[in-house]
């Protein structure tokens, strides 16, 4: 029984290390890209307040049929310091790109989620962010197109909480 408990403990540690490792890999090795956003603030009982982030690159034109749940790869170019999206593709393009998932069936304009749509804030501190839609988010994007939020800026200044 002692060995069983030991193996389960090791299993838990491996799970946690893998989880942290995957995210840290993206943060440490990813390319930094600044994105413009439009936030809304709900409350999540299990994980505190968080702001829902919607980006300028969240809604894009496509010229082909896209099914809900389909993975799309959006090429990014840096214009005036901001990440600007190209036309979404079904396979990873050369250069910088971000991976997203289509939310609806469409043939004209696709709504994509990139896994960076939540930003956690202390209790009841989401409102100021909600009321100022000029949020900018610095994300790290790794070579597979996975993105993690690094920093959030409001009117040019980094958002921090005391």
């Amino acid at each position: 029984m002692k060995k069983t408990f030991l193996y389960i403990a090791l299993f838990w540690i491996v799970i946690i290390l893998l989880f942290v490792g995957v995210k840290e890999y993206t943060l440490q090795t990813g390319t930094e890209v600044l994105l413009k956003t439009q936030p809304v603030d709900p409350r999540d009982l299990f994980r505190g307040d968080y702001v829902i982030l919607s980006y300028e690159i969240s809604s894009l034109d496509v010229n082909t049929e896209v099914r809900a749940g389909q993975k799309l790869y959006v090429p990014l170019t840096i214009v005036d310091g901001y990440g600007v999206a190209g036309t979404p593709q079904f396979s990873a393009p050369e250069g910088l790109f971000i991976k997203g998932e289509s939310q609806y069936d469409t043939e004209s304009r696709v709504r994509l989620e990139y896994g960076i749509e939540s930003y956690f804030v202390p209790e009841n501190q989401g409102r100021p962010l909600e009321r100022n839609p000029e949020l900018e988010v610095l994300v790290a994007i790794d070579s597979s197109g996975n993105a993690v939020i690094k920093k959030v800026f409001l009117e040019g200044e980094e958002v921090t909480f005391e």
Binding site: F5, K23, G48
Partner: protein, 376 residues
Amino acid sequence: MIDEKQIQSWVADKTITQKQAEKMLADVSRSQEESRSNKMIVAASTVGALLLGIGAILFIASNWEVIPDLIKVLLALVCTGAAYYLGYLFAYGNKSLPKVGSALLFLGALLFGGTIFLIAQIYNVNANASILVLIWLIGILPLIYALASVPIAVLGVGLFYTWLFLLIQESSWRLNEVTFPAFFLFSGLILFGLGSIHYAWDRLKNIARTYRLTGIKVALIMLFLYTFEEFSGSNDEVGFGIALFGILALLVSVVNLFFNISKRETNILENASIIGIVLFTLLFVYIPPSVVFVVLFNVLFAAVVGTVLYTGYTNEDVRLVNTGMFWLGVFIIAKYFDFFWDMLPTSAFFMTGGLILVLGGIALERKRRKITERFK
């Protein structure tokens, strides 16, 4: 269960002496006392562990920004490790406080989930991501089977259904009022069948029972929904996914039917009923809607509740009997509202309804007690 009446009858038959009877009565009384005490300890420890776990999760939810992220994760890991280690020590190491140890292990399982969500928060992983719940579930699965722990199995089943709900929300599956109950009905029947298969290992019989009971309850909720016209709408967009799920439920039932792994008298009745329910539901989901199905689902639901009661009675299973009685009561009340709301004047509706509720409730409760008394 031996009682005083039985013991006195043995004395009267001269099977045992009065002195032996007194000793037996004292032993029975002590055993009942111990059982009551054990149940209280388990209940108190489990509730205590649950409150601690909820407190820990809410603590994390308050976004305690003062502490650096790394320290927060370390704190969560230390708390999880401490609960886990102490639980092992008390329950399996020195075995000094087995009930408290089990409760601490349950707490450890909760704190593991808290740690996962804390890390997700630190990296701003999308809220309501089903993957987080899945990771939590995968993490505690070995614990469920290593300890054959019912509280952790209940947590596991809760996480399983939470994961399913979140997955449906995130995915491209379009479940409507027809396919949503079918999906969860089949999931409940699959869980029931998997529970039956768990009887193949004697040490997992409590897990088997947990899965079976939960499966029955989920299936009953979904069947109950189908007794209402609101859940008999259009089925234009039904893909093949629901059928696959139904086929899986059929397969599990067929295995249980032929191998009778649970070794129950009611095995044929249980699994034949499940096969019938699955086939009927698949027919309902894939052919054009008709009001006939609503009527037939009402008949089916009544039959299933009757089967649950019969199975509970035959296997002397108090919880099954209680489940059957509960749903019988709910069904009667719901159909009373459904049929008579528009037909009767409001005052007559409430007075008649109140009378039926009081008299019916008394009758059902008496019947339930009679049945459960027979099991003692």
